[in-house]
């Protein structure tokens, strides 16, 4: 009997994770696409340090960051993936969302300041949820984007 309850709880969490995770992901992608279109007029480039200084009268540092977590369904699928190996598609979209969100937050701050361009952008991500090498703890990945806004 208690085994059955455990299975039901597990399936319930899996379904909750799947439906809410998919819902949040769709909502997030919608908002990302909308904001990316809105901020498209400010170019963001990853070069700048080795070039001649851009023509500008003012410069400032901007950083955008986001901590993302997986849902129960994604965690379960990645466990299964670990058995056979290969691409973990569920985490790819997660990291893609995080990176784009961090870039957008950086850009929005820069635009609010009046930037005409964001140069020498760097992206960084690190796992803060668990110790390296262990599978304990939850998934929490910080993605940070930073660059120099010029105007």
């Amino acid at each position: 009997m208690s085994d059955l309850i455990n299975v039901i709880i597990f399936l319930g969490l899996l379904a909750l994770g799947y439906f809410s995770g998919t819902y949040f992901e769709q909502q997030h992608y919608k908002s990302i696409k909308k904001r990316e279109k809105k901020t498209l007029y400010v170019p963001t480039v990853t070069f700048g340090a080795k070039q001649a200084m851009p023509e500008a009268r003012d410069a400032a540092l901007f950083a955008g960051s986001v901590v993302i977590g997986a849902d129960y369904f994604k965690t379960f699928v990645s466990y299964l993936r670990n058995l056979v190996g290969g691409r973990v598609v569920v985490y790819e979209s997660l990291l893609d969302r995080g990176r784009r969100e961090a870039l957008l937050r950086m850009k929005e701050q820069a635009i609010a300041w009046g930037a005409t361009q964001v140069v020498n952008v760097r992206l960084e991500s690190s796992n803060i949820g668990q110790q390296a090498g262990s599978n304990k703890g939850m998934m929490a990945i910080e993605v940070i984007a930073y660059g120099t806004g010029v105007k």
């Binding site: 080795k50 023509e55 009268r57 003012d58 410069a59 977590g69 690190s126 110790q131 930073y146």
Partner: protein, 104 residues
């Protein structure tokens, strides 16, 4: 204090170098945020509590770097880089470094 990720400040010239400056802080997450985050790990989405915590911590790391540059007499820090690393279960180090310079 001007901060940039470039090797100089646009429109201005570097007149003096002061070398590397850095600032770091190690933050632990508190239990309440941990519980919220593990709940979020079931339904998915951004862990807002952690985002705010790390943004605050990063601000402090930058402030420490800036005050170090201030003491040296610099008015800008160029080529700034950030790094984050998990040093222990539940604690993260945030780190900012750059080169202190005086620009004109």
């Amino acid at each position: 204090m001007i901060l940039t990720t470039l090797e100089g400040v646009p429109g201005q010239e570097i007149v003096e170098h002061f070398g590397l400056v850095q600032g770091s802080t190690i933050r632990a997450k508190h239990v309440g945020k941990d519980i919220m985050a593990s709940f979020k790990n079931i339904i998915g989405g951004e862990l807002k509590g952690y985002t705010e915590l790390l943004q605050e911590a990063r601000k402090e790391a930058v402030e420490r770097m800036v005050s170090q540059a201030d003491r040296l007499g610099a008015n800008a820090v160029v080529n700034v880089r950030f790094a984050t690393s998990s040093v222990a279960q539940g604690a993260a180090e945030l780190f900012a470094y750059g080169t202190a310079v005086r620009v004109k």
